[in-house]
Symmetry: C2
Amino acid sequence: MPTSTRFAVAVHILTALAVSDGKPLRSEDIAYSANTGAVVIRGLLSRLSDAGLTRSQLGAGGGSLLAKPARKIRLLDVYAAVEDTELFSLHRTPPCESCAVGGNILEAIQPVLDRARKALEAELAKATVADVAAEVARLGKFSIPLVW
Amino acid sequence: MPTSTRFAVAVHILTALAVSDGKPLRSEDIAYSANTGAVVIRGLLSRLSDAGLTRSQLGAGGGSLLAKPARKIRLLDVYAAVEDTELFSLHRTPPCESCAVGGNILEAIQPVLDRARKALEAELAKATVADVAAEVARLGKFSIPLVW
DNA sequence: TAGTGTGTAATAGTGATGGTTACACACAAA
DNA sequence: TTTGTGTGTAACCATCACTATTACACACTA
């Protein structure tokens, strides 16, 4: 049960903003880096902004900025901001209520699925955008802030 | 991404087989319990059989059986048998190679995503089909084997 | 005031998914 | 051996989420 590409691109966006370190980035520039369209980026920025992770400056010289320090933004926050669907999908049509298994299977597996989901979320809570930005800087052999 | 319901239905199938405890179940009967089509069930049984989790008896009185004890079948085995896609999707089109962030973001986030995936898998490895079957029996107030 | 960039609606193409029909084949029961 | 049952798989279809793209109103800066 896959996530959309939104999570990966959203992390990309936030990492770019972290690397930019206070200088507003245009959606078009982020789109170039992520190899997608500027509207896609703005759609994600809209979600990230709703979640309180980014903010925008309108007008010439404007763009997007982190709304709080990169080290305060956990990947879990990003995940929650852009992923809509449940990690585990259940039956498309609910199983037979009156069946021995069908009538109880959902309730029976829910605790296990919850534990699995929470384990995943706990890992995503351990890493921050600052961590990712630092790793990108290390791999790319540059320092933050990066002058574009 | 439309997330698949295969995992939930596959667990349903195996739980039914565990509850049946050696008596072959027809795909049609499982389909009734899961509220889907028999061909959908047979498609999943085909994957589960390939993974060594079930086997089938052809002919009259035939159906499907567990290929090994329910307590030896971990939900992780089921997950691996029926889920095709990666848990985390990355960019649809690879990001800009020559960009500071785009050129390094994939490598930078991969370790985090791997840890998250492994944490999820570790939880799914802790639960078995026997556990789910026992929980279903408890909730449904019946004992295994259940005579249909 | 002119120009820049955001925010969002609308639309379209794509791909995975699940539902369904059809049918060949293996096996059991008689 | 024959008959009937149930599996295994291919083919086709409708649906839906997702991403890309166009279009345009609006806010803000220089």
